[in-house]
């Protein structure tokens, strides 16, 4: 494999990895607070992409991405307030099944609204074409996606670790009952966190639409990788999710360049090794 191809594979891996990190951060927060793997996370990502494609023609790219983020965040808040909350007193397995059911419903809804056939999306004209990085020529748009998602992931991390509201979220992950006893409206924190996680997934979906195209099942395709990122990174650990996201993205991309049939399987092999070596996850504590 020559240098240019290798560099391209690494860069592709970082773009995908940043997307995984973005999905992983949202999933990890929801998992930490609500103790459920959100099976609807993938389909929320897909809806983000579809909302963007529908709004981009009339309102432009930036507004399209923002519309995707807001619309899906509202949807996420609704799912939490009207579904997940009702099940707060029963076993978490039921919440998982609820999100699984919602995932089926929303995937079918996408097919009903946008049709079963995949569609494509173009990057904004400002970011069309490539840029010469010395070792390889790389599409401008993908570089922009990488930078924007990296900035957003960093912002999430700073928000959770450095702000007052972030401290409340961390307190909720640590001990919900104690947080509630201290006068924090923990229910509202749940709703907002679920909405934020959904919004982040939609944002990722909207940005990736011009790179990967859109299919109704795109959410189901990415979901297992987001799960791997969370398991590998460690429950509720944001730096872990970011590290694992990049690792998974790069491994997958390099394997795609070396031996395509093994690309996806290698990710799960990585997870298996990780879970045997460090059951609590790369940067997890529990």
């Amino acid at each position: 494999m020559n240098v240019s191809l290798f560099a391209g594979a690494i860069l592709n891996g970082l773009v995908t990895g940043m997307l995984y990190a973005l999905m992983g951060v949202g999933l990890s927060l929801i998992l930490g607070l609500l103790n459920i793997p959100n099976f609807a996370h993938g389909v929320l990502y897909a809806i983000g992409a579809y909302v963007m494609v529908s709004t981009v023609k009339t309102f432009g790219f930036l507004a399209g991405v923002l519309a995707a983020l807001v619309a899906v965040a509202v949807l996420g808040a609704g799912i939490e307030a009207f579904g997940v909350r009702r099940l707060s007193r029963v076993h978490p397995d039921y919440i998982l099944l609820l999100t699984f059911g919602l995932s089926l419903i929303l995937t079918e809804a996408i097919i009903l609204v946008w049709g079963p056939v995949g569609i494509t999306s173009q990057p904004p004209s400002l970011l069309a074409g490539g840029v010469d990085l010395g070792v390889t020529v790389y599409p401008k748009y993908r570089l922009a996606v990488m930078i924007v998602t990296a900035a957003l992931v960093a912002a999430c991390y700073l928000f959770v670790t450095r702000t007052r509201y972030g401290a409340i979220i961390r307190a909720g992950i640590e001990d919900k009952d104690m947080a509630a006893a201290l006068g924090i409206n923990i229910r509202r924190v749940f709703t907002l966190t679920f909405a934020t996680g959904a919004g982040l997934a939609a944002f990722g979906g909207a940005l990736m639409a011009p790179v990967r195209g859109l299919q109704p099942t795109m959410g189901l395709d990415i979901l297992p990788f987001a799960f791997v990122v969370v398991v590998l990174g460690g429950l509720g650990s944001l730096p872990g999710a970011i590290l694992a996201g990049l690792l998974v993205g790069v491994v997958q991309s390099l394997m795609t360049a070396i031996w395509p049939p093994g690309a996806d399987a290698s990710v799960f092999a990585l997870m298996t090794l990780g879970i045997i070596a460090r059951p609590q996850g790369l940067l997890g504590h529990r």
Partner: protein, 334 residues
């Protein structure tokens, strides 16, 4: 509660009447998925581990038996044994990793492994046929020594499937009623206490997972012969989700729930898919409604009905707020 003998008679009556009510193919499918649902019920309903990756064993066994029959013209009993064995071995290997974690992690691990095998089957087209599926699987006759019965018509195949189902149902009943079954249930109720009494919780979880893998593999073999093709879907998380769904709508933690669930699921999907291609939407809505309003599943619905018509006051087993899965350990480690 209905007496055991009456329940058994009802089951036999159901086996006899089912092919008159629905097409024999659908009827056979109901008992095949009943086996897979019973297997999940053993680990989810009885031992408290929700596996979201049962299609791994279902699909691996289906591909194994399919390939054996296509390339080696293997006899029926050999593929049944081989598929079951593949299920056992795969579940032992995967289960060993998965049971290291509990609760949410366990679910995600089983799901992750499922996807790994799905992607391998999807990409390895020279062996599995990839997205097109593995077609051309014959249905060998049922032969012991000189005795051979052809299974070419769907009704004959139904009888064969129903016979296998009855055997597995009996085996499952023996497991659940045995001291081993009681240990499984004690792990579900309180893993910490089960360990304190002296049971090696991880070993028993592993055992339950492995046994279930064998049953699921057996179901996979029967499935591969039914339509003569192994679709890629057989190893996908869709089947895993379907199996979870069957157990859930049927009712968790008793032997008959999964059968009711599988029957309701397959009958519904058959009835609705003819009318409307987008039937998973209805499935999703049904799942959400069951989770929100009828967590005991069909068994609870029947009990409530009987109560309403002045029957015996039911035992309130799936209490509101009571755990169906791992609890103490989940909370301790997460």
């Amino acid at each position: 509660m209905i007496r055991p003998l009456v329940r058994l008679l009802l089951l036999v009556a159901a086996i006899v009447l089912l092919p008159l009510l629905v097409r024999p193919v659908v009827a056979a499918e109901i008992w095949i998925f009943s086996i897979a649902a019973m297997a999940l019920n053993l680990i989810f309903g009885y031992t408290g581990m929700l596996s979201f990756g049962q299609a791994t064993f279902f699909g691996l066994a289906a591909y194994t038996s399919g390939l054996m029959m296509i390339h080696w013209h293997a006899p029926l009993l050999a593929v049944l044994a081989a598929g079951t064995l593949v299920g056992v071995v795969a579940a032992a290997a995967i289960g060993y990793v998965c049971i290291q974690r509990v609760g949410t992690y366990f679910i995600m691990l089983t799901f992750g492994f499922n996807q790994m095998f799905y992607f391998i089957a999807y990409k390895w087209t020279s062996v599995t046929g990839g997205d097109d599926g593995l077609p051309g699987i014959p249905r060998p006759p049922f032969a012991i020594g000189p005795l051979a019965v052809r299974l070419d018509s769907s009704l004959r195949y139904y009888v064969f499937v129903a016979a296998i189902f009855l055997l597995t149902f009996y085996a499952m009943k023996r497991i659940v009623d045995s001291p081993l079954g009681v240990i499984f249930q004690s792990i579900r109720e309180n893993p910490g206490r089960a360990a304190a009494v002296g049971y090696d919780v991880k070993r028993y979880k592993w055992l339950a997972f492995t046994i279930a893998g064998g049953f699921t593999g057996l179901a996979g073999v029967l499935y591969s012969m039914m339509f003569g093709i192994v679709p890629l879907e057989a190893i996908s998380w869709i089947i895993s989700g379907d199996i979870v769904f069957m157990v859930l709508i049927g009712g968790i933690g008793n032997l008959y729930g999964p059968l009711l669930g599988a029957a309701a699921f397959k009958w519904l999907s058959e009835a609705v898919s003819v009318v409307w291609e987008r039937w998973p939407l209805i499935l999703g809505v049904a799942l959400v409604l069951v989770v929100l309003f009828l967590r005991g599943g069909l068994v609870e619905a029947l009990t409530r009905l009987r109560e309403a018509f002045g029957g015996m006051p039911p035992r309130r087993e799936p209490r509101e707020g009571a755990p169906v899965g791992v609890t103490a350990e989940t909370e301790a480690t997460s």
